[in-house]
Point group: C2
Chain length 157, copies 2
DNA sequence: AACAACATATAAGAGCTCTGATATCATGGG
DNA sequence: CCCATGATATCAGAGCTCTTATATGTTGTT
């Protein structure tokens, strides 16, 4: 069963193309774009998840780990791992809550802000390529669909 | 910065909604759907990646680990991990290639076929919910977009 | 026959993500 | 006042995914 076997389609062909399962296409697209982002950010050693976290902390300075998890649709444990790696890299700072003894505020460090700025330039280029060849109306449909999938209640019967 | 802070939007609101970055929305949607699938398959202990692998092996019996990686847009190493876990669970069988001394054919075991059948019923339900509230034309646009993102050359300048 | 080029498999190491469990802290009802 | 409830943080374990590196097998060229 080598690469020349005509019964195995390539990505975008046959069942793996526009006639395939939406869930499968979604999985493939997200994986491909994630890889593309991480290749673009490889020079800085920043992952897609880290870029998302940096963006969130930049937009909402002083949030907690639990806040970040809610924003990024992650579990607090996952967020904690990402925050730990970013802290180890010196990109963010943990500050204890003034009153609450458990909460820790998160803020970008100066180097974290500079890093985010550099990453943004590259990711924005990719973001722009994401809509090439699609009308405004089609893009609207895509956006509405993605939001609908992301907000569908997972605990539904 | 508790949950009541009005400056932090929920998923689907503000910048996290239809006006947000497409890459971010894609990441969110794929994560949410992956979780939904794995919750539906939790009873069987099957992950989304394993379901995809089982489906591929069922559709193209006798493929190799490298074939599977190409089909699923994964590295051979990643595919090898998934295959290893499925083999350990007894869902698939490795057969040595008749001629080529290195290649191993993959096939579902009887229990693997039965498992896939049960998983399919549940996942197909979710797949059906994925298009609720969207016209055929909109769905076409979404499919075309997902395929375009998945097949965009990652090595592009 | 020997070597180069390519394909396949696999191991190691890192990061992401989940579930489950544990500990700490805050708040409200008895 | 004390405790139940809920929020926060964190540890441990598992699976997925990548990169890098290594070993083995096949094929075509010289």
């Amino acid at each position: 069963m080598g690469k020349g076997n005509p019964s195995i389609p390539s990505a975008g062909e046959g069942k793996r193309g526009e006639q395939g399962y939406l869930g499968y296409l979604l999985r493939q697209a997200a994986g491909a774009y994630r890889l593309k982002v991480e290749r673009a950010l490889d020079e800085f050693g920043v992952t897609q998840a880290q870029f998302a976290a940096l963006t969130m902390i930049s937009a909402y300075p002083g949030l907690s780990n639990a806040d970040l998890a809610r924003l990024a649709v992650l579990t607090p444990q996952t967020a904690s791992v990402i925050v730990g790696n970013l802290e180890r890299a010196g990109s963010l700072i943990r500050r204890p809550h003034a009153v609450h003894g458990r909460i820790q505020h998160l803020d970008l460090s100066d180097s974290g802000r500079a890093l985010l700025k550099k990453c943004r330039e590259r990711v924005y280029k990719l973001e722009g390529e994401l809509t090439a060849g699609f009308s405004a109306e089609e893009e609207r449909a895509v956006r509405r669909w993605l939001v609908a999938v992301a907000t569908a209640d997972a605990a539904q019967p």
